[in-house]
Symmetry: C2
Subunit: 202 residues, 2 copies
Protein backbone atom coordinates (compact mmCIF):
# COMPACT_ATOMS: atom_id res chain seq x y z
CA UNK A 1 0.00 0.00 0.00
CA UNK A 2 2.94 2.32 0.59
CA UNK A 3 3.59 2.91 -3.09
CA UNK A 4 -0.05 3.92 -3.63
CA UNK A 5 0.54 6.62 -1.03
CA UNK A 6 3.89 7.79 -2.32
CA UNK A 7 3.19 7.54 -6.05
CA UNK A 8 -0.55 7.75 -6.73
CA UNK A 9 0.07 9.02 -10.28
CA UNK A 10 1.32 5.55 -11.25
CA UNK A 11 -2.13 4.04 -10.71
CA UNK A 12 -4.61 6.09 -12.70
CA UNK A 13 -7.44 3.56 -12.76
CA UNK A 14 -9.59 2.28 -9.87
CA UNK A 15 -9.32 3.07 -6.21
CA UNK A 16 -5.75 3.23 -4.96
CA UNK A 17 -4.61 1.40 -1.84
CA UNK A 18 -3.65 -2.05 -3.11
CA UNK A 19 -0.25 -2.87 -4.49
CA UNK A 20 0.38 -5.99 -6.56
CA UNK A 21 1.26 -8.17 -3.59
CA UNK A 22 -1.78 -7.24 -1.54
CA UNK A 23 -4.04 -7.98 -4.54
CA UNK A 24 -2.29 -11.36 -4.80
CA UNK A 25 -2.75 -12.14 -1.07
CA UNK A 26 -6.48 -11.34 -1.14
CA UNK A 27 -6.92 -13.28 -4.41
CA UNK A 28 -5.22 -16.40 -3.00
CA UNK A 29 -7.43 -16.28 0.11
CA UNK A 30 -10.55 -15.86 -2.01
CA UNK A 31 -9.54 -18.70 -4.36
CA UNK A 32 -8.95 -20.95 -1.34
CA UNK A 33 -12.30 -20.05 0.22
CA UNK A 34 -14.53 -20.20 -2.86
CA UNK A 35 -12.53 -22.23 -5.34
CA UNK A 36 -10.54 -20.73 -8.22
CA UNK A 37 -13.06 -21.64 -10.92
CA UNK A 38 -15.99 -20.19 -8.95
CA UNK A 39 -14.21 -16.85 -8.35
CA UNK A 40 -14.32 -14.03 -10.92
CA UNK A 41 -12.24 -10.88 -11.22
CA UNK A 42 -15.50 -9.10 -10.32
CA UNK A 43 -15.68 -11.06 -7.04
CA UNK A 44 -12.07 -10.15 -6.31
CA UNK A 45 -12.69 -6.47 -7.08
CA UNK A 46 -15.67 -6.51 -4.70
CA UNK A 47 -13.61 -8.19 -1.98
CA UNK A 48 -10.86 -5.57 -2.39
CA UNK A 49 -13.33 -2.69 -2.71
CA UNK A 50 -11.80 -1.58 -6.02
CA UNK A 51 -12.82 -1.60 -9.68
CA UNK A 52 -11.91 -4.48 -11.95
CA UNK A 53 -9.55 -2.20 -13.85
CA UNK A 54 -7.60 -1.58 -10.63
CA UNK A 55 -6.88 -5.31 -10.63
CA UNK A 56 -6.04 -5.38 -14.34
CA UNK A 57 -3.49 -2.67 -13.56
CA UNK A 58 -1.45 -5.39 -11.77
CA UNK A 59 -2.47 -8.62 -13.52
CA UNK A 60 -3.43 -9.38 -17.12
CA UNK A 61 -6.03 -11.97 -16.20
CA UNK A 62 -7.40 -14.17 -13.43
CA UNK A 63 -5.08 -16.89 -14.65
CA UNK A 64 -2.00 -14.70 -14.29
CA UNK A 65 -2.93 -14.24 -10.61
CA UNK A 66 -3.13 -18.02 -10.23
CA UNK A 67 0.21 -18.32 -12.01
CA UNK A 68 1.88 -15.89 -9.58
CA UNK A 69 0.45 -17.84 -6.63
CA UNK A 70 1.52 -21.25 -7.92
CA UNK A 71 4.98 -19.91 -8.82
CA UNK A 72 5.40 -18.60 -5.28
CA UNK A 73 4.79 -22.07 -3.81
CA UNK A 74 6.63 -24.05 -6.48
CA UNK A 75 9.75 -21.89 -6.54
CA UNK A 76 10.26 -22.19 -2.78
CA UNK A 77 9.76 -25.95 -2.73
CA UNK A 78 11.91 -26.49 -5.84
CA UNK A 79 14.75 -24.47 -4.34
CA UNK A 80 14.83 -26.63 -1.19
CA UNK A 81 14.58 -29.91 -3.09
CA UNK A 82 17.23 -28.89 -5.66
CA UNK A 83 19.63 -27.97 -2.86
CA UNK A 84 19.04 -31.28 -1.07
CA UNK A 85 19.37 -33.29 -4.29
CA UNK A 86 22.57 -31.51 -5.37
CA UNK A 87 24.25 -31.97 -1.97
CA UNK A 88 26.67 -34.84 -1.37
CA UNK A 89 27.32 -36.91 1.72
CA UNK A 90 24.74 -38.31 4.13
CA UNK A 91 21.46 -38.71 2.16
CA UNK A 92 19.58 -39.35 5.40
CA UNK A 93 20.58 -35.95 6.81
CA UNK A 94 19.64 -34.24 3.53
CA UNK A 95 16.25 -36.02 3.48
CA UNK A 96 15.53 -35.13 7.10
CA UNK A 97 16.51 -31.50 6.45
CA UNK A 98 14.21 -31.47 3.39
CA UNK A 99 11.25 -32.73 5.42
CA UNK A 100 11.85 -29.99 8.01
CA UNK A 101 12.35 -27.31 5.35
CA UNK A 102 9.15 -28.39 3.58
CA UNK A 103 7.17 -27.80 6.76
CA UNK A 104 8.83 -24.40 7.05
CA UNK A 105 7.83 -23.44 3.49
CA UNK A 106 4.30 -24.66 4.04
CA UNK A 107 4.05 -22.54 7.19
CA UNK A 108 5.58 -19.44 5.58
CA UNK A 109 3.53 -19.70 2.36
CA UNK A 110 0.44 -21.47 3.66
CA UNK A 111 -2.19 -19.86 1.39
CA UNK A 112 -0.12 -20.31 -1.81
CA UNK A 113 0.79 -23.92 -0.91
CA UNK A 114 -2.87 -24.67 -0.09
CA UNK A 115 -3.88 -23.36 -3.52
CA UNK A 116 -1.15 -25.42 -5.20
CA UNK A 117 -2.29 -28.60 -3.45
CA UNK A 118 -5.86 -28.07 -4.70
CA UNK A 119 -4.91 -27.68 -8.36
CA UNK A 120 -6.57 -30.47 -10.37
CA UNK A 121 -5.21 -29.82 -13.88
CA UNK A 122 -8.21 -27.95 -15.33
CA UNK A 123 -6.08 -25.78 -17.66
CA UNK A 124 -2.67 -25.75 -19.34
CA UNK A 125 -1.32 -23.67 -16.47
CA UNK A 126 -2.65 -26.15 -13.89
CA UNK A 127 -1.25 -29.05 -15.92
CA UNK A 128 2.14 -27.34 -15.89
CA UNK A 129 1.96 -26.92 -12.11
CA UNK A 130 1.07 -30.61 -11.73
CA UNK A 131 4.05 -31.54 -13.94
CA UNK A 132 6.32 -29.45 -11.70
CA UNK A 133 4.90 -31.19 -8.63
CA UNK A 134 5.59 -34.58 -10.23
CA UNK A 135 9.18 -33.48 -10.95
CA UNK A 136 9.61 -32.46 -7.30
CA UNK A 137 8.05 -35.77 -6.15
CA UNK A 138 10.53 -37.68 -8.33
CA UNK A 139 13.46 -35.76 -6.81
CA UNK A 140 12.16 -36.50 -3.31
CA UNK A 141 11.77 -40.19 -4.15
CA UNK A 142 15.39 -40.24 -5.38
CA UNK A 143 16.52 -38.70 -2.11
CA UNK A 144 14.57 -41.39 -0.20
CA UNK A 145 16.09 -44.07 -2.44
CA UNK A 146 19.62 -42.71 -1.75
CA UNK A 147 18.97 -42.76 2.01
CA UNK A 148 17.70 -46.35 1.75
CA UNK A 149 20.75 -47.34 -0.36
CA UNK A 150 23.16 -46.01 2.27
CA UNK A 151 21.35 -48.19 4.81
CA UNK A 152 19.79 -45.37 6.84
CA UNK A 153 16.15 -46.28 6.10
CA UNK A 154 14.17 -49.48 6.48
CA UNK A 155 14.36 -51.51 3.28
CA UNK A 156 10.95 -53.21 3.46
CA UNK A 157 9.02 -50.23 2.08
CA UNK A 158 9.24 -48.97 -1.48
CA UNK A 159 11.05 -45.57 -1.59
CA UNK A 160 8.32 -44.06 -3.80
CA UNK A 161 5.71 -45.04 -1.25
CA UNK A 162 7.80 -43.66 1.62
CA UNK A 163 8.09 -40.37 -0.23
CA UNK A 164 4.32 -40.23 -0.79
CA UNK A 165 3.49 -41.07 2.81
CA UNK A 166 5.97 -38.61 4.33
CA UNK A 167 5.11 -35.68 2.08
CA UNK A 168 1.43 -36.65 2.34
CA UNK A 169 1.77 -36.05 6.08
CA UNK A 170 3.59 -32.76 5.47
CA UNK A 171 0.97 -31.58 2.96
CA UNK A 172 -1.88 -32.50 5.32
CA UNK A 173 -0.68 -29.70 7.62
CA UNK A 174 -2.48 -27.18 5.39
CA UNK A 175 -5.74 -28.57 6.79
CA UNK A 176 -5.12 -27.45 10.36
CA UNK A 177 -1.83 -25.57 10.88
CA UNK A 178 -2.23 -21.81 11.27
CA UNK A 179 0.92 -19.62 11.54
CA UNK A 180 -0.87 -17.31 14.00
CA UNK A 181 -1.82 -20.29 16.22
CA UNK A 182 -0.05 -21.64 19.30
CA UNK A 183 2.26 -24.07 17.46
CA UNK A 184 5.61 -22.76 16.32
CA UNK A 185 6.53 -23.76 12.73
CA UNK A 186 10.07 -24.86 13.52
CA UNK A 187 9.03 -27.07 16.44
CA UNK A 188 6.29 -28.54 14.22
CA UNK A 189 8.94 -29.27 11.57
CA UNK A 190 11.09 -31.13 14.11
CA UNK A 191 8.07 -33.06 15.41
CA UNK A 192 7.07 -34.20 11.92
CA UNK A 193 10.64 -35.37 11.25
CA UNK A 194 10.82 -37.13 14.65
CA UNK A 195 7.54 -38.96 14.03
CA UNK A 196 8.30 -40.13 10.49
CA UNK A 197 11.93 -41.12 11.08
CA UNK A 198 11.79 -42.43 14.64
CA UNK A 199 8.17 -43.59 14.90
CA UNK A 200 5.57 -43.12 17.59
CA UNK A 201 6.38 -46.10 19.75
CA UNK A 202 8.14 -45.39 23.01
Amino acid sequence: MSDATTAPARRPRGRPGHDRDSVLRVAIDLFNRRGYDATSIGDLAKELGVTKSAIYHHFDSKESILEAALDEALEEISRVVETASAGDGDAYARLRATVEASVGILAAHLPAVTLLLRVRGNSELEQRALAQRRHIDAQLATLVRDAAAEGSLRDDVDPDMISRLVFGMVNSLVEWFRPEGPIDASSLARTVADVVFDGLRS
Copy 2:
Protein backbone atom coordinates in the same frame (compact mmCIF):
# COMPACT_ATOMS: atom_id res chain seq x y z
CA MET B 1 -29.66 -51.49 -13.06
CA SER B 2 -31.23 -54.88 -12.46
CA ASP B 3 -34.33 -53.44 -10.83
CA ALA B 4 -34.90 -51.17 -13.82
CA THR B 5 -34.98 -54.33 -15.95
CA THR B 6 -37.13 -56.44 -13.68
CA ALA B 7 -39.53 -53.74 -12.50
CA PRO B 8 -39.69 -50.91 -15.04
CA ALA B 9 -43.19 -49.92 -13.87
CA ARG B 10 -41.65 -48.61 -10.63
CA ARG B 11 -39.78 -45.89 -12.50
CA PRO B 12 -42.21 -44.01 -14.68
CA ARG B 13 -40.14 -40.86 -15.29
CA GLY B 14 -36.91 -40.46 -17.27
CA ARG B 15 -34.85 -43.09 -19.03
CA PRO B 16 -34.50 -46.29 -17.04
CA GLY B 17 -31.13 -47.93 -16.48
CA HIS B 18 -29.80 -46.22 -13.36
CA ASP B 19 -30.71 -47.33 -9.89
CA ARG B 20 -30.19 -45.09 -6.87
CA ASP B 21 -26.72 -46.36 -6.14
CA SER B 22 -25.38 -45.94 -9.68
CA VAL B 23 -26.73 -42.34 -9.74
CA LEU B 24 -24.90 -41.78 -6.44
CA ARG B 25 -21.61 -43.24 -7.77
CA VAL B 26 -21.65 -41.06 -10.90
CA ALA B 27 -22.63 -37.99 -8.88
CA ILE B 28 -19.78 -38.48 -6.40
CA ASP B 29 -17.27 -38.82 -9.25
CA LEU B 30 -18.63 -35.72 -10.95
CA PHE B 31 -18.57 -33.71 -7.70
CA ASN B 32 -14.95 -34.78 -7.15
CA ARG B 33 -13.93 -33.85 -10.68
CA ARG B 34 -15.75 -30.51 -11.05
CA GLY B 35 -16.44 -29.51 -7.47
CA TYR B 36 -19.85 -29.88 -5.78
CA ASP B 37 -20.80 -26.21 -6.06
CA ALA B 38 -19.93 -26.06 -9.77
CA THR B 39 -22.00 -29.17 -10.62
CA SER B 40 -25.75 -28.93 -11.30
CA ILE B 41 -28.41 -31.64 -11.47
CA GLY B 42 -28.48 -30.81 -15.20
CA ASP B 43 -24.76 -31.65 -15.49
CA LEU B 44 -25.37 -34.93 -13.65
CA ALA B 45 -28.31 -35.80 -15.91
CA LYS B 46 -26.14 -35.13 -18.96
CA GLU B 47 -23.33 -37.30 -17.55
CA LEU B 48 -25.80 -40.14 -16.89
CA GLY B 49 -27.62 -39.66 -20.19
CA VAL B 50 -30.99 -39.30 -18.45
CA THR B 51 -33.48 -36.51 -17.77
CA LYS B 52 -33.30 -34.47 -14.59
CA SER B 53 -36.58 -36.03 -13.45
CA ALA B 54 -34.94 -39.48 -13.61
CA ILE B 55 -32.53 -38.20 -10.96
CA TYR B 56 -35.29 -36.59 -8.87
CA HIS B 57 -36.94 -40.01 -8.86
CA HIS B 58 -34.11 -41.13 -6.55
CA PHE B 59 -33.03 -37.93 -4.78
CA ASP B 60 -34.99 -34.87 -3.66
CA SER B 61 -32.18 -32.45 -4.43
CA LYS B 62 -28.51 -32.08 -5.24
CA GLU B 63 -27.89 -31.65 -1.53
CA SER B 64 -29.56 -34.97 -0.69
CA ILE B 65 -27.06 -36.67 -3.03
CA LEU B 66 -24.19 -34.97 -1.17
CA GLU B 67 -25.78 -36.04 2.12
CA ALA B 68 -25.90 -39.70 1.01
CA ALA B 69 -22.23 -39.52 -0.06
CA LEU B 70 -21.04 -37.90 3.17
CA ASP B 71 -23.11 -40.34 5.27
CA GLU B 72 -21.50 -43.26 3.45
CA ALA B 73 -18.02 -42.08 4.42
CA LEU B 74 -18.87 -40.85 7.92
CA GLU B 75 -20.84 -43.93 8.98
CA GLU B 76 -17.99 -46.27 8.07
CA ILE B 77 -15.35 -44.22 9.83
CA SER B 78 -17.56 -43.63 12.89
CA ARG B 79 -18.25 -47.35 13.23
CA VAL B 80 -14.53 -48.18 13.29
CA VAL B 81 -13.66 -45.40 15.73
CA GLU B 82 -16.61 -46.19 18.05
CA THR B 83 -15.56 -49.84 18.19
CA ALA B 84 -11.94 -48.95 18.97
CA SER B 85 -12.95 -46.36 21.59
CA ALA B 86 -15.41 -48.73 23.31
CA GLY B 87 -12.91 -51.62 23.49
CA ASP B 88 -10.91 -52.24 26.63
CA GLY B 89 -7.36 -53.48 27.13
CA ASP B 90 -4.31 -52.46 25.12
CA ALA B 91 -4.96 -48.95 23.71
CA TYR B 92 -1.90 -49.23 21.48
CA ALA B 93 -3.33 -52.31 19.72
CA ARG B 94 -6.71 -50.58 19.30
CA LEU B 95 -5.04 -47.46 17.90
CA ARG B 96 -2.92 -49.45 15.47
CA ALA B 97 -5.98 -51.43 14.35
CA THR B 98 -7.86 -48.15 13.85
CA VAL B 99 -5.09 -46.74 11.64
CA GLU B 100 -5.17 -49.90 9.52
CA ALA B 101 -8.98 -49.97 9.36
CA SER B 102 -9.05 -46.29 8.34
CA VAL B 103 -6.85 -47.05 5.36
CA GLY B 104 -9.20 -49.94 4.48
CA ILE B 105 -12.27 -47.67 4.59
CA LEU B 106 -10.50 -45.03 2.53
CA ALA B 107 -9.63 -47.66 -0.09
CA ALA B 108 -13.11 -49.22 -0.14
CA HIS B 109 -14.97 -45.86 -0.22
CA LEU B 110 -12.37 -43.71 -1.95
CA PRO B 111 -14.70 -41.39 -3.91
CA ALA B 112 -17.02 -40.75 -0.92
CA VAL B 113 -14.08 -40.19 1.45
CA THR B 114 -12.43 -37.85 -1.09
CA LEU B 115 -15.64 -35.80 -1.26
CA LEU B 116 -15.88 -35.71 2.56
CA LEU B 117 -12.31 -34.46 2.88
CA ARG B 118 -13.03 -31.59 0.46
CA VAL B 119 -16.07 -30.31 2.34
CA ARG B 120 -15.42 -26.74 3.52
CA GLY B 121 -18.60 -25.94 5.45
CA ASN B 122 -20.46 -23.98 2.75
CA SER B 123 -23.93 -25.09 3.97
CA GLU B 124 -25.67 -26.42 7.08
CA LEU B 125 -25.18 -29.96 5.76
CA GLU B 126 -21.45 -29.36 5.23
CA GLN B 127 -21.18 -27.78 8.68
CA ARG B 128 -22.81 -30.90 10.15
CA ALA B 129 -20.32 -33.14 8.32
CA LEU B 130 -17.42 -31.03 9.65
CA ALA B 131 -18.85 -31.32 13.19
CA GLN B 132 -18.97 -35.12 12.77
CA ARG B 133 -15.36 -35.10 11.56
CA ARG B 134 -14.35 -33.07 14.62
CA HIS B 135 -16.15 -35.59 16.85
CA ILE B 136 -14.25 -38.46 15.18
CA ASP B 137 -10.95 -36.52 15.52
CA ALA B 138 -11.62 -36.05 19.23
CA GLN B 139 -12.24 -39.78 19.68
CA LEU B 140 -9.02 -40.57 17.82
CA ALA B 141 -7.08 -38.11 19.97
CA THR B 142 -8.48 -39.81 23.10
CA LEU B 143 -7.31 -43.17 21.78
CA VAL B 144 -3.83 -41.70 21.17
CA ARG B 145 -3.88 -40.19 24.67
CA ASP B 146 -4.80 -43.59 26.18
CA ALA B 147 -1.97 -45.29 24.29
CA ALA B 148 0.46 -42.61 25.52
CA ALA B 149 -0.86 -42.98 29.09
CA GLU B 150 -0.22 -46.74 29.09
CA GLY B 151 3.37 -45.97 28.05
CA SER B 152 3.17 -47.40 24.52
CA LEU B 153 3.78 -44.10 22.69
CA ARG B 154 6.53 -41.50 22.95
CA ASP B 155 5.53 -38.84 25.47
CA ASP B 156 7.34 -35.87 23.92
CA VAL B 157 4.60 -35.15 21.33
CA ASP B 158 1.13 -33.84 22.14
CA PRO B 159 -1.50 -36.59 21.55
CA ASP B 160 -3.72 -34.20 19.55
CA MET B 161 -0.83 -33.43 17.23
CA ILE B 162 0.03 -37.13 16.86
CA SER B 163 -3.57 -37.82 15.88
CA ARG B 164 -3.54 -35.01 13.31
CA LEU B 165 -0.23 -36.12 11.81
CA VAL B 166 -1.16 -39.81 11.61
CA PHE B 167 -4.62 -39.32 10.16
CA GLY B 168 -3.26 -36.54 7.94
CA MET B 169 -0.97 -39.17 6.42
CA VAL B 170 -3.91 -41.59 6.09
CA ASN B 171 -6.14 -38.94 4.48
CA SER B 172 -3.39 -37.94 2.04
CA LEU B 173 -3.77 -41.38 0.42
CA VAL B 174 -6.83 -40.06 -1.47
CA GLU B 175 -4.40 -38.02 -3.57
CA TRP B 176 -2.69 -41.02 -5.14
CA PHE B 177 -4.04 -44.41 -4.02
CA ARG B 178 -6.24 -46.12 -6.63
CA PRO B 179 -7.98 -49.41 -5.69
CA GLU B 180 -7.50 -50.70 -9.25
CA GLY B 181 -3.74 -49.94 -9.09
CA PRO B 182 -0.85 -52.27 -8.22
CA ILE B 183 -0.91 -51.63 -4.46
CA ASP B 184 -3.10 -53.83 -2.32
CA ALA B 185 -5.16 -51.93 0.29
CA SER B 186 -4.36 -54.26 3.18
CA SER B 187 -0.60 -54.20 2.58
CA LEU B 188 -0.82 -50.39 2.27
CA ALA B 189 -2.65 -50.32 5.63
CA ARG B 190 0.13 -52.36 7.27
CA THR B 191 2.82 -50.16 5.69
CA VAL B 192 1.21 -46.96 6.96
CA ALA B 193 0.97 -48.43 10.47
CA ASP B 194 4.59 -49.67 10.30
CA VAL B 195 5.86 -46.25 9.21
CA VAL B 196 3.98 -44.21 11.80
CA PHE B 197 4.55 -46.50 14.77
CA ASP B 198 8.01 -47.85 14.04
CA GLY B 199 9.51 -45.01 11.98
CA LEU B 200 11.54 -45.02 8.79
CA ARG B 201 15.01 -45.41 10.25
CA SER B 202 16.59 -48.81 9.87
